[in-house]
Symmetry: C2
Subunit: 189 residues, 2 copies
DNA sequence: CAATTTGCCTATAGGCTTTAGGTAAGTGCA
DNA sequence: TGCACTTACCTAAAGCCTATAGGCAAATTG
């Protein structure tokens, strides 16, 4: 009975890979056990339950995404920062669709507050340093940027923009142009 | 053995109600059978499988949402049309979270093409008649509007904007102001 | 009113989740 | 080195969900 060397960490990482291969929805404790060639019950020593697994994958993905975002923002400002950050989201979703879906998992408030989700909000706010916005418009803009990034990526992943002209890549560039223009010229209330 | 009067239609409608009550993810053929006080196997005369049920709920929700959108757009133009249409999305999601989640279900291309999703795209394009955009910017704008509406509503539903100032309602109004300003002043490429 | 179709049933099989309790592999201390 | 202890994985089992096959009774039709 050789030991497989399971840990919650390794399970979450393998779960993330599995999510990218078969979709986050299809990630199950059973499938993960199969992947480690181990009986299902064995995983329950490391995972509280199925939801726990999904939460761990979500947290891992949020962190990866935040790390990439931070790397992209380093040394950039203004529109340069805006597009680099936005591209991180889009590229991550294309590279790791399962992880991106995981990152959308609804976390309970406590878990969310302790997650890398907080860094995401901070980074979005950092982008706005390159623009001349004061509160409460800054918060409105943070929320709008998050909405556009998430909304665009998720519609694109759902196939909403494929099989129609113009190319999604072109729209993405123009949407970022538009956001930049908007932030430079945010309407007064 | 009295008959329960099951039809695919009624099942989809009941499934939609169930989705609003317990979440779209939790909608199962079993739960639906319980609701009709009928054995599970009986539903399989009307539904091909579990996915079929979910698809029907999605199609029904897309149609309801399109109907509301059409009603909102009637007799409106410009910013008035923009906000009325956007509010339809947001209000629908708040009123019917399960149905709204269902409307995001990824449909296969054939089903999607025959769905009310097509009307949604047409209506979004109709809103832009009130602004001075020509192709391909019109398409870029259509995609951006869809992204903002979907992104904002879905982040708001996930609790992203609660427990923080300012109020989500205020941000929503300002985001629509910003979109209107942007569409009136779309940057040249 | 008989024949046919339709609607819901029972029975059954297989998959996923989760808990309880057992056994063997690794760890630490004398 | 040897023994106790802990840890890691196991078997077993119950509960719920999906899905199919085949049966009987209720509705429909001529």
């Amino acid at each position: 009975m050789a030991r497989a060397g399971l840990t919650a960490e390794r399970l979450a990482r393998a779960g993330a890979e599995l999510a990218d291969e078969v979709g986050f929805e299809q990630v199950t404790v059973s499938a993960l056990a199969r992947r480690f060639d181990v009986k299902v019950a064995s995983l329950y020593s490391h995972l509280k339950n199925s939801q726990d697994l999904k939460t761990r994958i979500a947290l891992l993905s949020l962190e990866e995404l935040a790390d990439r975002g931070a790397a992209a923002l380093a040394g950039r400002a203004g529109k340069d920062a805006l597009t680099a950050f936005a591209d991180v989201y889009r590229d991550y979703a294309r590279e790791h669709p399962g992880r991106y879906a995981a990152a959308q998992l609804r976390l309970d408030p406590e878990t969310a507050a302790a997650s890398a989700g907080v860094r995401h909000a901070q980074m979005t706010r950092a982008i706005l340093r390159g623009y001349d916005l004061t509160e409460p418009d800054q918060t409105h803009a943070v929320r709008m940027l998050g909405s556009v990034f998430h909304g665009y990526v998720s519609l694109e992943m759902a196939g909403g923009f494929s099989h129609s002209e113009p190319d999604s890549q072109e729209t993405w560039a123009r949407v970022l142009d538009a956001l930049d223009a908007l932030l430079r010229n945010w309407p007064a209330s």
